[in-house]
């Protein structure tokens, strides 16, 4: 996983609430067995509309998505995270995220940033007025800054450490393989196996 410390980029305002992962990437895109090529599926139904904000030339090359409340609800498909990353997003800022989407993002190094709804709306307005506006997201300082303003955000220390170091979760867990073995010795004898 690519480490995430500080990122500066332009943003796209997506003024919709409850954007579920079926909208981020429709099911027909889930048939792939590889991990690449999902950028074409990102918001594919909505992108057919020329007025959809992602089609606005002013926002081409943006790397920060400014979303509405409850972004990424619904299906557990990690393809939603892959699609956002492969399209070029490094950060999604929203007032609230679906739990699984948020988890999947932090596993892949796409940073989900929770800011109060009023701050997200201010950011969206600022970007609508000036699409070239640069926003800086500093994970080490847990702070988003733009146009002389800034707002702090919360993220737990462990996830922040993992992301800033770019560490592989499985490798970390396997350091505790002895604990797993010890736990397995004490499992209840009636627990089922699939064989």
């Amino acid at each position: 996983m690519e480490a995430f410390t500080v990122h500066t980029g332009r943003a796209v305002p997506l003024r919709r609430s409850n954007v579920d992962t079926d909208q981020i990437i429709p099911a027909v895109w889930l048939k792939q067995v590889s991990r690449t090529g999902f950028e074409k599926g990102l918001f594919s139904a909505w992108r057919e509309d020329p007025d959809f904000v992602l089609n606005d030339p002013a926002h081409q090359g943006a790397s920060i998505l400014l979303a509405g409340p409850d972004f990424g609800t619904g299906s557990s498909r990690e393809h939603a995270v892959w699609a956002l990353q492969q399209y070029g997003f490094r950060v999604v800022i929203a007032p609230r995220f679906g739990d699984i989407f948020r988890n999947n993002s932090t596993k892949m190094g796409l940073l989900p940033v929770v800011l109060p709804a009023s701050v997200v709306e201010d950011l969206q307005s600022a970007v609508e007025t000036d699409p070239a506006l640069e926003i800086t997201v500093d994970l080490r300082e847990r702070r988003v800054s733009w146009a002389g303003r800034s707002a702090g955000f919360e993220i737990d220390d462990y996830t922040r450490w993992r992301l800033t170091e770019g560490l592989d979760d499985i490798g970390l867990t396997l350091r505790n393989a002895d604990d797993i073995g010890a736990y397995e010795n004490g499992r209840q004898p009636w627990l089922p196996t699939t064989v």
Binding site: K31, S34, A45, S75, R77, D99, N103, L174, T194
Partner: protein, 459 residues
């Protein structure tokens, strides 16, 4: 202070706890299907890691499978299913492929085999894993990176969610089902209301539900934003489990039941959030919008967006759904009826639909899709397929089918369905398709009239 059911099950599975880190949680059962697993197996291969406990893992083919007999026509779907077969063979995982008597939707087969038991931790790369919480375990959906993590370590690092009690007082009136109840609960707490929580469903109406009904309720916890939903195990749970292929036997059964009884939330335990619902006031419930929280009693009308909590979202939803505020929901005409999915694709659901359709004719395209091959077999032993066919409905093979339209069962743009599944998102059942979530009873009655209808409305 006493502990809740969720806290008891969680604590029992903590492998490692360290200050400032998530708990490392042991996973008792890992369910796998073709859609969210291929990249996880690839990851294992790249890192040259084995599957730690293949015997705690089980796989099925469900999302892509056609529900008419024959091979998968779509080459991309076929590749995905073949990839699962290859991966399961390589890593030694039990698989129930298409055509196998044990095949079915991943959340139907776990309980059916008795693999889903009280007090367990169960995960799957699928958000409706919450279904299994009906037995009193912690069951939740995970992404593909986490699927790989569980395959490699049989554990997951996770922070313990907060606890929410949904207290359902009173009894459900006749003709009101578990599906109506959960749709009403979601409309009340909202699609984000359960975020960061495990919901425990409690109270008289919950105790009165069958295991099938409890699974319907827990299944849709994710639609309220909660990752897991659970119900304390009781005599209904034990009676359902006893004698199933993977349930404990003999002395083990007695020891297990004794432990399972100890899991119930202590009387002095405190939940972080409590929501109260009066079951006796409920009536059949349907959705009108494009998220499962946008629902209303069937007897009411399409709401005015300004009267809803999120007017902008409601306006967008009505435009997508082609509905006008003030239209009575009973006048909404549908083209297709779908009975099936991990929400309502069990035997009890098919019986309920058959009871409505017996001696009647459908006027819509009507798909009846059993949740598993075993459900199909049992339904046929009871002659339910004859009832459906005589009514003009299509009786299909097991799979996810029109729940998400990855196989050929889809809505055309603008088509409208009454569906017993769990998601009415834009395009969920096919691009441009419009979905109304309903119970199996309402689905069947709707098939008879062509408009959203409750069985009680039929003469």
């Amino acid at each position: 202070m006493g502990r809740t059911l969720a806290e008891k099950v969680w604590e029992r599975h903590v492998v490692r706890r360290a200050e400032g880190e998530p708990d490392l949680l042991y996973i008792d059962l890992h369910l796998i299907h073709e859609v969210t697993s291929p990249q996880a197996f690839d990851g294992l291969r790249m890192a040259e890691r084995p599957v730690r406990r293949p015997e705690l893992t089980i796989a099925t083919e469900d999302h892509n499978v056609p529900t008419v007999r024959g091979p998968i026509e779509d080459p991309v779907s076929r590749t995905q299913v073949e990839t699962l077969r290859k991966n399961c063979a390589e890593f030694g995982i039990r698989l129930h492929p298409m055509g196998d008597a044990g095949q079915g939707v991943v959340h139907i087969i776990g309980p059916q085999f008795g693999l889903t038991q009280p007090g367990m931790t169960i995960v799957c790369g699928d958000s409706h894993t919450s279904t299994h919480g009906a037995f009193g375990g912690i069951a939740f959906g995970i992404g593909t990176s986490e699927v790989e993590h569980v395959l490699a370590t049989q554990t997951l690092p996770a922070y313990r969610p907060r606890t929410m009690a949904v207290e359902v007082a009173g009894e459900l009136p006749a003709g009101v089902t578990a599906k109506d109840l959960i749709l009403a609960i979601i409309a009340k707490i909202g699609t984000g209301g359960g975020q960061g929580h495990i919901i425990e469903y409690r109270g008289e109406a919950i105790r009165g539900l069958s295991m099938e009904g409890r699974m319907t309720v827990c299944n849709m916890s994710i639609e309220a934003g909660a990752r897991a939903g659970m119900i304390a195990p009781d005599e209904t749970t034990f009676a359902y489990l006893k004698g199933r292929p993977h349930a404990p036997r003999g002395e083990m059964w007695d020891a297990a039941v004794e432990y399972w009884r100890s899991l119930a939330t202590d009387e002095d335990a405190v939940f972080d959030t409590v929501v109260e619902v009066d079951a006796s006031a409920l009536t059949p419930f349907v959705t009108w919008g494009t998220n499962p929280g946008q629902g209303a009693p069937l007897g009411s009308s399409v709401p005015d967006p300004d009267d809803t909590g999120d007017p902008a979202a409601a306006r967008r939803a009505l435009e997508y759904m082609g509905l006008t505020a003030g239209t009575p929901l009973r006048e909404v005409e549908v083209d297709t009826v779908f009975v099936g999915s991990c929400t309502n694709g069990r035997l009890e659901d098919l019986r309920a639909a058959a009871d409505v359709l017996r001696g009647r004719r459908v006027v819509t395209r009507t798909l009846i899709v059993p949740g598993s091959m075993l459900v199909k077999l049992q339904a046929e032993q009871e002659g339910l397929h004859e009832v459906f066919r005589a009514a003009g409905a299509e009786w299909r093979e097991a799979g996810c089918s029109m729940c998400l339209g990855m196989n050929p069962d889809t809505l055309a743009p603008g088509e409208r369905s009454a569906s017993t599944s769990n998601r009415n998102f834009e395009g969920r059942q096919g691009k441009g398709g419009r979905t109304h979530l309903v119970s199996p009873q309402v689905a069947a009655a709707t098939a008879v009239t062509g408009k959203l209808t409750a069985p009680a409305d039929l003469v």
